[in-house]
Amino acid sequence: MLLCALFGAAMAADKPPELKASWRTTTATDLAQENAYEDIFETLSQARTELKWKLPSGDRVVLSVVGEHNARVGEDVEAEWLSWVDDAYIDHKVGQTKLRIGNQVVRWGKLESTALLDVLNPTDLRHGVLSPIEDRRIAIPMLRARRDWGAIGLDAIFIPFFVPARQSFLGSDWSLFPPGLLERTLESAKNWESDALTEGFNQAVVTGLSDALQQADSALMNGLDRTLGQAGTPTALGQGSEAAIRWQWYGPGFDLALQGGSVLEDTTTIIADPTLLQSLSNQAFPTTSELGGLIEGIGDALEFVHPRFFYAGLDASSTLGVFTVRGEAAAFKGRALLTRDMSLSTSDEVGAGFGLDWLTNPNIQATVEASWRHLVDVDESMLLIRNQNEYAIFAQVSSNLFRNQLKPQLIAQIDPIRTEAAIILDIAWRYSDHVQFNVGGFLFHSPDDTPSTTEALLTYEGGALGVFDQNDAATASFTYWF
C-alpha cells in the first residue's frame, strides 16, 4: 500500500529522480576452523537501489530496496536470498511542521559504536562485523513530525508497529547460539539419565530431533531461524507502539538536545522454563512427574519477549581546538535483564559516553568513543550475559592516500573489563569511479572460550565479543556503483 502511494506520488514529479544503485560482495575465509561446525567460507552480497524524487508540490519521495544473498560453506552449504524495502517515505509540509511518513531511520544521539540513545530503529545483527555498521540499522514504519523555530527544533516520533532486531539464532557463525551447540546438546542428551518409564520415549525424541537436525535442508533452517526471530513480537494494536520526542538547540559552536520516549527492547530476551533449564544444567531428563508439567506448558518452555522501557537523555557536540567533541548521557527505566536462572528481570540503568574526532586533516581521520552503563540496584551475581557496570571503547583510524584511491582503516572495539577485543582491518582500493576492492580481516580476542555446549553457555562469563572468538577471518570485497 505504502509503495503504491509512493509510486503514485513519484509519477507527479517534474524532475527526474536521483538514482543510486550499488552491488557489494564480501567474502570471509576462516581457515582455522577451531570448531567442527563453524563455516570456513562465507559470502554476503547486497544490491541496493535508492530513488529520490522532488515533487512539484515540494514534497519529497524516497524509495530504497535491498536484495541480499548470504552463503555459508562449512560442514554443509547453506544459502539464503532475502529482499526488503529499506527507506520508503514521503516528506510533506503542513504549515511550518515537516512530516515524514513511512519506513525510515531516525538517528538520535552523538555516539556511533557505543551509542546509548540510538534506541528507535532495530539493528540487523545477522552477519556480525561482516556487515558495515552503517548498514545495520533497519528502517521501520514511523510518523515523524518536526518543527523548527530558528536554532530550536522539536522532533516527535510515533512508531505504530514494533519491529524486532534481526538476529540469527541458529546455523551461522554469527548466531546467538554458537555453531554446533544444538547438535552437541542433542548428541549429549542421548546419554542423559532418565527414569525407567520415560527412557525409551526420551531417547526416541532426542534421536528423532538429532536426525531431523542433521537432515534439515538450508531452506528449513533459514525458515526456522526467521520464525524464531519474529517470536515474541507484540501484534496487538497499540501493544507494540513506541513514541519519542526530542528538543534540540543548535547554538553557535555547539548543539544540545534533550529527548525521551517509551520503546520496546529490540533484541530478544529468551526466558527458559525452570524444568527445562534444570534438565540442561543437570544433563538429565525430567522425571515422569516433571515431564507432565513441562508438556502442559510446552508453549512456555522457551519464551521470547521484548519488554517496554522508558528513557530520557541528552546529547551535545562542539569543537575543541582541532577536535570534535561529542557526548551522551541517558537514564532508563525498566531495562530487560536475563538472570542466571534464565528468567526475566528488569532494572533501571544510567549511562554516559563521549566521542572525540580528529577530522581536520583530510588525509588522516581518527575517532575514539567510550561509554559506561550501570544497572541500578541489581545484584551482580544474579546476572547472566552482562555485568552491573559495562564499559565499551571504540577506536578508529583511517587514511586517504593517493588522492583517495587507497584508504586503509583500522577499527578496535574493546571490552576492558572482560579483556575482550575485536580488531578490524580494511584496505580499500578505489579502482575507478564505479569499482572498489577491499581486503582485510577481523580478529577477536577473549580469555573465555566460545561456549560449545548448552552447559557452557549457561555458565558463560564472557561478553558479546567472546562469543565470536572463533570467527577470525580474512576478508575481501568488491563493490560496484552503477
Partner: protein, 248 residues
C-alpha cells in the same frame, strides 16, 4: 571556502602593498557576489591520465559579513547525498558541518588547523581561505597594457613561500596563479581556461589546478551558475542541520 568563484579570487588575496592592494580591491569589488547557486564538476586526473569525477551542487548566501556555503555531492553514487555547510562569520569561529548519508546524522567539524588536499583534489584548503594573511608581503612584479603580475610572500603559516598572480586589466579576474614551495620550486599552477559573464560578472567556468611535482591535475568545471540570486531562493534554512538531514 565560500564559493568557488570567490575562491578563485582568493588566490590573489594576500596582497597588501598599496598598488597591489588597490588592484585586488578593485577586482573583488567588481566581482563581489551576494548569493549564488552553481553545479560544479570536479575531475581529478592522475599522472597516468585516469580520471575520477565528482559533481557538486553548491549554494552561497551572504548576509552582511556572514557568508554561508552549502555543498551537496551529486556524483559519484557512493558519496551522493554527502553534504557540507560552512558558516564564515568574521565575529565567530567558523562553523563546519558534514552530513554522511551512511551515518544519517550531522557531524560538526573543527575548522581549526584544516589543511591538506581538498576532497583528494589538487586544491588545498588553504587555497580557499578568505582572510588575508596579515604577515604577507606583496610586490607588483610587472604591468603591461593588458595585465598585472603580483608576487606575494605569504606569512609562516602558509605552505608556500611565494605566489605569483596574473590579473587582466579588462575584467580583473585572475587567470593564472603560480604557487612556489618551501624549496622555492613551482609546485602548483592554477589557470582559468574559460570565463562566462553572468549578470555582468565574469565567472570562471573552467579552472585547472596542476600539481607540477606529482604530475596530477584537477579540472573544476562549472556546469550551471546563477549569481546574485534573490535571497528567498536560498533561505537560511538551507544551512541548518535540519535541512541537511532532510536532504541526505
Amino acid at each position: 571556502m565560500r564559493t568557488l568563484l570567490l575562491a578563485l579570487l582568493i588566490c590573489a588575496n594576500p596582497v597588501h602593498a598599496k598598488d597591489a592592494k588597490d588592484i585586488i580591491d578593485e577586482a573583488r569589488d567588481a566581482q563581489r557576489l551576494s548569493n549564488s547557486m552553481q553545479t560544479v564538476k570536479m575531475v581529478l586526473v592522475s599522472k597516468s591520465g585516469r580520471e575520477q569525477t565528482r559533481t557538486l551542487d553548491m549554494r552561497a548566501r551572504r548576509d552582511g559579513d556572514v557568508v554561508r556555503t552549502y555543498a551537496r555531492f551529486l556524483e559519484p553514487s557512493d558519496v551522493a547525498g554527502t553534504q557540507f555547510v560552512l558558516v564564515d562569520n568574521p565575529n565567530q569561529v567558523d562553523e563546519q558541518l558534514m552530513y554522511l548519508p551512511a551515518l544519517g546524522r550531522v557531524t560538526r567539524i573543527s575548522g581549526k588547523g584544516r589543511s591538506g588536499s581538498f576532497m583528494g583534489s589538487d586544491f588545498k584548503y588553504e587555497d580557499f581561505e578568505i582572510e588575508s594573511d596579515p604577515q604577507a608581503r606583496h610586490a607588483l612584479l610587472s604591468e603591461s597594457e593588458s595585465e598585472w603580475k603580483i608576487e606575494t610572500t605569504p606569512g609562516p603559516s602558509s605552505s608556500y613561500t611565494k605566489i605569483r598572480t596574473t590579473i587582466p586589466k579588462a575584467d580583473k579576474l585572475p587567470r593564472k596563479v603560480e604557487y612556489f614551495d618551501k624549496a622555492g620550486n613551482l609546485s602548483r599552477e592554477l589557470t582559468i581556461e574559460k570565463v562566462r559573464v553572468v549578470n555582468g560578472i565574469p565567472a570562471p567556468t573552467l579552472t585547472v589546478m596542476k600539481n607540477k611535482r606529482r604530475g596530477t591535475s584537477t579540472r573544476m568545471e562549472v556546469l550551471d551558475i546563477r549569481v546574485n540570486v534573490d535571497a528567498n531562493e536560498i533561505p537560511e534554512e538551507v544551512f541548518t542541520t535540519s535541512y541537511m538531514e532532510e536532504n541526505g
